[in-house]
């Protein structure tokens, strides 16, 4: 008896998506770096936001995807939902770290400090920790069913937690000092930003496809390596 065959994404379509993604990301980067002038107040540093904002958006999107996949897994117990969840978690953690680093890099010349306990930044950091917890639990669980089930539970609780964390940090900041001014953008900047958001979202979908394929292959290897006909572990 083997694990049910998992659906695989079509390789031809993946290549097409990859090419499209490359083009749009190149366009977005070119626009952000060369097409648009530097911000009047913030200078060249503001260009970081063209990557920081999409990264933050994807971090949150991924978190939501992990949540949805976790729920689907717990309901249907189909391993493909679990593999999609871990793909989203791995990609999500990269974008979360990226968003944090870029946010910090942008903050230093703009506000003079590396870290401001800004509600959004702080919540993103907490989100990173939840991602780390999710992936660490997976690495410590050998049994595939338990691994999938426990990480699904953490994915769900983490998702319920994040809005409450955000509200509590926001409330905490308003108590101690007024919240930092929102980063508003004018005119052409918004278009470039949206272009980059679209580019990164495409990149996200592409990465998800590749990572999922890898996860399916990993799962088959695991299964082949560890299951033997007489029922003993190698």
């Amino acid at each position: 008896m083997t694990i049910t065959d998992l659906p695989q994404p079509n390789p031809g379509r993946a290549r097409l998506l990859g090419t499209a993604t490359l083009l749009v990301v190149a366009a977005g980067s070119a626009a952000g770096l060369f097409l648009v002038p530097a911000d009047a107040l913030q200078g060249e540093v503001q260009r970081l936001l063209y990557v920081h904002v999409p990264a933050a958006w994807l971090a949150m999107l991924s978190f939501f995807v992990v949540f949805v996949m976790s729920v689907l897994y717990l309901i249907q117990r189909d391993p493909k939902w679990d593999l999609l969840a871990v793909s989203a978690a791995e990609i999500g953690i990269v974008f979360t770290a990226l968003a944090l680093v870029l946010g910090s890099l942008w903050g230093k010349p703009t506000w003079g400090v590396w870290w401001t306990w800004d509600p959004r930044l702080t919540t993103t950091a907490i989100m990173l920790m939840i991602y780390v917890g999710y992936l660490t639990v997976r690495s410590f669980a050998d049994d595939p069913d338990k691994r999938a089930r426990w990480s699904a539970i953490i994915g769900i609780i983490g998702f319920v937690d994040v809005p409450i964390v955000y509200l509590s940090v926001l409330w905490w900041r308003t108590l101690h000092q007024p919240p930092s001014s929102p980063r508003s953008m004018a005119g052409e900047f918004v278009y470039v930003l949206l272009l980059n958001v679209a580019a990164f979202t495409l990149l996200y979908v592409y990465l998800m496809l590749r990572r999922y394929r890898l996860a399916v292959a990993e799962r088959h290897v695991e299964e082949l390596r560890l299951t033997r006909d007489d029922g003993r572990i190698t």
């Binding site: 050998d142 595939p144 069913d145 695991e222 299964e223 299951t227 033997r228 007489d230 029922g231 572990i233």
Partner: protein
């Protein structure tokens, strides 16, 4: 749903634990009021099978019924009528004998009147140590106390995992007496042991497990000598 003349019916039950198939396509039927002994070497799956019948594990594939209730859907109804005495007694060392019984009674839905608890202790010969902490008991006494927790409940099916372990001849006789008594009262007994002997001879049927498979399921007189001393399975390749 509901009771039937078959206490346990398993149909192609397989259980995967981690990456090992601990049970593979087990199919058997146990009649009500009978006793079945599970034998097999360590790791054959005896404990896994008992835990699965006790609804502590859900089957990976296959279906089963206990007392007519489905393993998948009516697990709670099964737990109501089934008791498992595992190799470890599930006693709380810091609680005394009476308190351990009181806890078992509360959890098992049995009325907790002191006289009843004492009677159960007396039945297993422990009423003189009712206020002693369970951690101070010898392993034989702990087994007796574990038996008492089962005796208090009204059970149709009793699952015993290595009940003879760490018992002296008095204790072994006590186990056999209980098994006889349960059966006389219409109860069904499934007993796993790697020690052969009296239990196997007195059983209605013997189930021989090897590497998760049901090697043979027959009456005691139909057993082959090889069944009682199975060779360890050598992994292929």
């Amino acid at each position: 749903m509901g009771d039937s003349s078959v206490a346990v019916r398993l149909d192609k039950i397989s259980k995967r634990l981690g990456w090992t198939w601990a049970l593979r396509e087990i199919g058997l039927e146990v009649e009500r009021g009978s006793s079945v002994v599970l034998i097999g070497p360590n790791g054959a799956g005896k404990t896994t099978l008992l835990r699965l019948v006790a609804t502590l594990l859900k089957p990976t594939t296959g279906t089963g019924e206990v007392m007519g209730f489905s393993l998948q859907e009516d697990a709670d109804a099964i737990r109501y009528r089934t008791g498992l005495l595992s190799a470890h007694g599930h006693l709380y060392g810091d609680l005394n004998a009476l308190e351990n019984l009181r806890f078992a009674a509360w959890m098992g839905g049995v009325s907790v009147d002191e006289a009843r608890l004492r009677a159960a202790l007396a039945k297993v010969g422990l009423d003189h140590v009712s206020k002693q902490r369970a951690r101070e008991f010898s392993s034989g006494m702990q087994k007796r106390l574990a038996f008492a927790t089962l005796l208090m409940r009204r059970l149709d099916l009793v699952l015993l995992d290595e009940p003879y372990a760490s018992l002296d001849s008095d204790g072994i006789r006590m186990v056999d007496d209980f098994v006889d008594e349960w059966r006389a009262g219409g109860g069904t007994v499934l007993l796993a042991t790697h020690r052969r002997g009296l239990a196997v001879r007195k059983a209605d049927r013997v189930a021989v497990l090897q590497a998760g498979r049901l090697h043979r399921y027959c009456r005691p007189d139909e057993l082959e000598p090889a069944d009682l001393d199975p060779q360890p399975v050598v992994p292929a390749g």
